[in-house]
Symmetry: C2
Amino acid sequence: MVRDTRENNRSQALLDAAAALFATQGYAATTVRDITAAAGMASGSAHYHFRTKADLLLAVYRHGVAAVATRVDARLAEAPAHPRDRIEAALVGHVEAVLDPSPYARVIVSVLPANVPELADELRAEREHYEDRWRTLIEDLEPPMNQSLLRQFLLGAANSTQLWFSDGGLTPQEIGQGLARLLPD
Amino acid sequence: MVRDTRENNRSQALLDAAAALFATQGYAATTVRDITAAAGMASGSAHYHFRTKADLLLAVYRHGVAAVATRVDARLAEAPAHPRDRIEAALVGHVEAVLDPSPYARVIVSVLPANVPELADELRAEREHYEDRWRTLIEDLEPPMNQSLLRQFLLGAANSTQLWFSDGGLTPQEIGQGLARLLPD
DNA sequence: GTCTATAAGGCGATAGAC
DNA sequence: GTCTATCGCCTTATAGAC
């Protein structure tokens, strides 16, 4: 856990502002000036906390992956032991995270690794580590189809919710449960 | 069909170069200078064919949606009448299109409408029009779940193939068929 | 730690020659 | 139609005052 010293406070304000802007505008369209202005700082001050704009994205992206992982693990902790129930719980957690008003998890959908060449490998590695738990969940299901195909389909569908979700319709929970109904028996 | 006059030839070269760059780098990270250099032109010359960079994206995006629609319709034309078979055919066509080496269709995955505010409404409208045929396909299936949820899941999963597909693994056809196996009976 | 000022260069778009 | 040259603005990142 990050201690809330005065210094971390300002780093945190930068991270929050960067996450919100990266999530809604993407990485390339967001400037360091946008971020510092949103955090109430002068543009030169960001570089004391983060050497480059890419460093800021990497930190935000890591927070985002961690936010999804934390939420999924919390759902899994209270899920029944049945493989199908566990995947449903994980799907609900994942969808909740990428639809959360807090912008960190949204960045992992709105910033595509391939579009940031200098960080692509590191961003993909962060994702991979999170996706490991999905490999296990799906192994336990013993589905009658290619397992990595099923994993990619579920994560792709779950991530896409962010592109069409609107308040007032289905809840994140209902969406996650609806996706789980596509699971093979 | 666009006639291949000398003038269209140069517009086409710009569109091809723009599509390739938007597909791999995204919109904001691609410069007009990148595009004209790839098309073998001087940077000032692009503006004779397209007034702004945004106009170029809109033209590329429309080609991309049309490319997906054409491929899906071709698959549907030779598909059996059964609703489930028709959705499988459409899924194969859609996955083939977004994995095609020709970059136009890939742009609709790598450029998110929300990340281009000045064109977001128009890009979404292009997508919507294409997605209408999916509404019909899924109505005919009479699935035991929310129909628009199923539509978004299938399209989200199909589009995501572009983010993890690698040559040498499964073919686009196998991926489309695998996705169809998740359809409810 | 944050500021102001600025270096050094890239951006989209335009003007006018050819 | 395409070129060269350039306008006016914005970019990331740095330097040095406070």
